[in-house]
Symmetry: C2
C-alpha cells in the first residue's frame, strides 16, 4: 500500500494525477502550507527536507517528483503505458523533457514567484534574470509543443505531468498572456478525468 | 561520434567527468560565459535554450544533465558500471538522489549566486529563503553522506556527479564552512583521474 503525503497547493497535485492515471490504491495525507507559503513542520517527520510530493511504499520513503514518477511507472504500470520509448533518440528526447520540467524550467518560475512576494524596491538583477529566463523557457515550450496535444505528440506521456505543472505555475504568475497554446495545454490536461479525480480527493 | 558543447564554468564539467569515466571518444567545443555570467549566443545555434551541457550524438541534440547522463549510461556503459540498482527500493533511492541534484538542491544555490551579484539593499524575502533552504539542503546532504565516501556508499554512482557539482557550487559560495565532510567529498571527487582529465581538456 502506498501512502501519499500531499502538500497543497503546487507540484504534488501532478504526482497525484499520475497516481490516479495508474489506478493505484493509496492512502492520502493532506498538508496545507503555512502563512509563509512553506510546507508545515509535520512534513519533516516524513522526510528530512519536509518536502512534498513524498510517498511511502512498503515503509520506504521516496521524495523528488521525478524519482517518484520513475518508481511508479517501473513498478506499477503493468501495461507500460508511461514507459519511455525504446528507440535510442526518442528515448533521449523523452528523458530531456522529463528532466527539463524539474530542472531548467523550474528555477526562473520559482524566482518569479518569490519576487512577486518581495517588497519594493524589487532587486534589479534577479528581476531581469527571472523575466528573460521565463520568456525564453515559455517560448521554447510553446515552439516545441506547436499544435500537438501533448509535448511528445498526440499521447499523454510522463513529461506532460511535470510540464503541465510548469505551465500552470506560469499561468498563475500571469506569464501565459502571450501563449494561448500553453493556456490550452493546461486547460486540456486539468480536464483529464484522472486529474479531476486527484483534485477532488486532494482539494488542490 | 559524440560532440560535447561545453560551457565554462559550472555543471557541464561534471557531465564531462562522466564522459571521461565512460572512456568515450568525443569532440569538444568549448564556450565561455559572457560578462553577465551567462552562456554566449553561439550556444543558441546548438539548442534553443542556449544551454550547456548539451551533446550531439549522431546528429541528435540532447540537453539537460540528467537526460544526457541517462542516455550515456544506457547506451555507452557496456559493463553497467553506472546503471541504477535493480532492487526496487535501492533503485528508488538512486533515482531520488539522481533527481535531487538537478531539482530541489539547485534553486536555492542559484538564488544565492544571483544574490551575491545583486546590489544593496539585498531583497529580504529572497535572502531569507535562500539562506534557510541552503542550510536545510547542506545539512541533509551531510547527514545522508555521513562517513561514506560517496552518497550511496563506498562506490561512485551516477548521483555523485550532480551532487559533486552542488557541493562545489556551495563551496564557491562559501557555504561549506560548517561542513568539513562535504568539503572532503568535493576534494575527493575532483581528484578522481577522470575528473582531472575532464578539467585538463575543458579548462573549467
Amino acid at each position: 500500500m502506498i501512502t501519499v503525503h500531499h502538500l497543497r497547493v503546487g507540484r504534488p497535485l501532478f504526482t497525484l494525477w499520475l497516481i490516479e492515471e495508474l489506478g493505484l490504491d493509496y492512502s492520502l495525507k493532506i498538508y496545507d502550507r503555512n502563512d509563509m507559503g512553506r510546507a508545515p513542520s509535520e512534513l519533516k517527520a516524513v522526510h528530512p527536507l519536509g518536502k512534498s510530493p513524498v510517498i511511502e511504499d512498503d515503509g520506504h520513503v521516496i521524495a523528488e517528483s521525478g524519482a517518484i514518477a520513475m518508481h511508479l511507472i517501473e513498478n506499477y504500470d503493468a501495461n507500460g503505458r508511461f514507459a519511455p520509448p525504446t528507440e535510442k533518440f526518442a528515448r533521449a528526447s523523452w528523458y530531456q523533457w522529463f528532466h527539463y520540467t524539474e530542472a531548467s524550467a523550474f528555477a526562473p518560475l520559482l524566482i518569479t514567484l518569490l519576487l512577486s512576494r518581495e517588497q519594493e524596491p524589487k532587486p534589479q538583477l534577479l528581476s531581469m534574470f527571472a523575466q528573460s529566463e521565463v520568456t525564453l523557457q515559455l517560448d521554447y515550450i510553446a515552439q516545441s509543443l506547436g499544435e500537438q496535444a501533448f509535448i511528445l505528440g498526440d499521447q499523454l506521456t510522463l513529461p506532460d505531468f511535470g510540464l503541465s505543472y510548469i505551465c500552470q505555475m506560469a499561468s498563475r504568475l500571469k506569464q501565459l498572456d502571450d501563449h494561448p497554446t500553453l493556456r490550452a495545454y493546461v486547460e486540456r490536461n486539468v480536464a483529464e478525468p484522472a486529474f479531476v479525480r486527484a483534485l477532488g480527493k486532494a482539494g488542490g
